[in-house]
């Protein structure tokens, strides 16, 4: 069956395969957001630490990771480690690792900027009550930074979701690679990649929706 130039039957045939890939894309996204946020929080705290060495290590991390394309990092993790140290990561492990390390660097910058955007008087008021700097961070600074972080973090999460398409080059079968594989069989780039694109669009839109909801909820619970 055709509707204008669109071969509906073909679309119906490839969609389940692409959706299966999309599930893997979601899994990769969630995992790398999770680990990336943990890495990001630690690196951010390192960067603002009063211990110079930690600050330098944190700065080095974000400098290197943000300065090298994710694609190159993935090649190093997947092919490079195998060649040099005989460490053959599975495509999935390499994908999650690479995405988390990379996402962590950007998230660290977001968290650092968020923490430093909080008025210095807040830290001083907390310290003057007798709090340790860790307590002040946990009770006063981070809860305030948290809501300012949501919008840029949302952007970063969406970027991360789109970046998962890069792991198709290390043979990780997610949405993009499912499309590529289908195309090597059918040679129908337009239908296949357009569908892939639309599925990404649906997923990112849904993501944005969730983040907007979170922001609204937060605004209400904080009384302004």
């Amino acid at each position: 069956m055709r509707i204008g130039p669109i071969d509906v039957e073909f679309l119906l045939a490839i969609t389940p395969i692409l959706l299966k890939g999309a599930l893997m894309t979601i899994e990769l996204t969630v995992l790398s957001i999770f680990f990336g946020t943990i890495i990001g929080l630690f690196v951010a705290l390192m960067k603002i630490s009063r211990f110079k060495l930690l600050a330098v290590i944190g700065g080095f991390y974000t400098w290197v990771i943000r300065g090298i394309p994710l694609l190159v990092q993935l090649f190093i993790l997947y092919y490079g480690l195998a060649q040099y140290f005989d460490i053959q990561l599975s495509p999935k492990a390499a994908a999650v690792l690479g995405l988390s390390i990379c996402g962590g660097a950007y998230i660290a910058e977001i968290i650092r900027a968020g923490i430093q955007s909080i008025d210095k008087g807040q830290m001083e008021a907390a310290l003057s009550l007798g709090m340790s700097s860790t307590q002040a961070m946990r009770r006063v600074i981070l809860p305030q930074a948290y809501r300012r972080l949501l919008p840029p973090m949302g952007n970063e999460f969406i970027a991360l979701m789109k970046d998962t398409s890069l792991v198709s080059v290390i043979t990780m079968v997610e949405l993009m690679r499912s499309g590529i594989l289908l195309n090597t069989t059918y040679f129908r780039s337009m239908e296949i990649y357009l569908t892939v694109g639309i599925i990404y669009l649906i997923m990112t839109t849904f993501f944005i929706y969730i983040i907007c909801r979170l922001e609204k909820r937060l605004a209400i619970s904080e009384g302004d």
């Binding site: 008087g121 807040q122 001083e124 008021a125 009550l129 007798g130 340790s132 809860p143 904080e222």
Partner: protein
């Protein structure tokens, strides 16, 4: 109770506190006045160890701040824990209130007792409500700071500092950020503390207040204490021309 001996403080090349010495007895109310940039805030911040001093020393009830004296007389950095404990005994009130905006008024006041002193919640709550009543804000316990006027916010900030049961209160221009009609309510709360015999150091430009409550008035200029005298002496017969110039500008 507070002894400051020959302290110096630099910010980079800027010499902000120059050989400052000051003693404050228990129950005494000391008001610090002086032009902008003369180092008044820095002095209070050094007392609270929010800034470190380059040399000299400060003791509170005999305990050096941030330093401990070894048997051989040398001073070494104190543990952070002791610094935290000393800070918790000094209440600090800031020009810009610095209430925690993500917490209600009551939570702000309870924060210190709960997080720092590990006071049980019910006890902290009772005590905090009593303090809020004392500053006249019992009905605002569940409001957020943004919903309050500046004067109300500053009264909450005072209650928050009092919740730690401090031995000393440090006020850094507590009314400078307020609309004129809100200044009075905050000064009233501070005067209540004076009547209770609280030891305090108040940086302020409110000369009427200084005249009324101060046991001593300190005039700071360019990082130095130029004058340390009774309010009468300072306001009627200052010994430095610099003090006279400053007072004539501000009165």
């Amino acid at each position: 109770m507070i002894v400051i001996e020959h302290i110096n403080k630099h910010f980079g090349k800027l010499h902000v506190l120059k050989d400052v010495s000051l003693t404050v007895a228990r129950g005494e109310v000391v008001v610090i006045i002086g032009p902008s940039g003369s180092g008044k805030s820095t002095l209070l911040r050094c007392l609270n160890y929010l800034e470190t001093i380059d040399d000299g020393y400060i003791t509170i009830e005999g305990q050096p701040i941030g330093k401990i004296k070894l048997p051989d007389g040398r001073l070494v950095d104190d543990s952070r824990k002791n610094v935290y404990r000393l800070r918790s005994r000094m209440g600090m009130v800031f020009q810009r209130f610095n209430l925690f905006p993500h917490q209600t008024v009551l939570q702000n006041v309870m924060e210190g007792p709960i997080t720092v002193s590990k006071t049980p919640v019910t006890e902290a709550k009772d005590r905090s409500l009593a303090l809020l009543a004392k500053v006249g804000l019992a009905d605002k316990a569940d409001a957020y700071p943004v919903q309050l006027s500046g004067g109300q916010q500053q009264r909450v900030a005072i209650a928050r500092a009092l919740a730690m049961q401090p031995r000393v209160m440090l006020f850094d221009e507590p009314t400078s950020a307020l609309d004129p009609e809100l200044v009075g309510e905050v000064l009233e709360v501070i005067k209540d503390l004076v009547r209770e015999g609280m030891t305090m150091i108040v940086v302020t430009h409110e000369m009427g207040f200084a005249r009324e409550v101060a046991d001593r008035v300190i005039f700071m200029n360019d990082g130095r204490i130029l004058e340390d005298a009774s309010p009468q002496a300072i306001f009627t017969n200052p010994s430095h021309t610099r003090t006279r110039e400053f007072l004539s500008k501000i009165l």
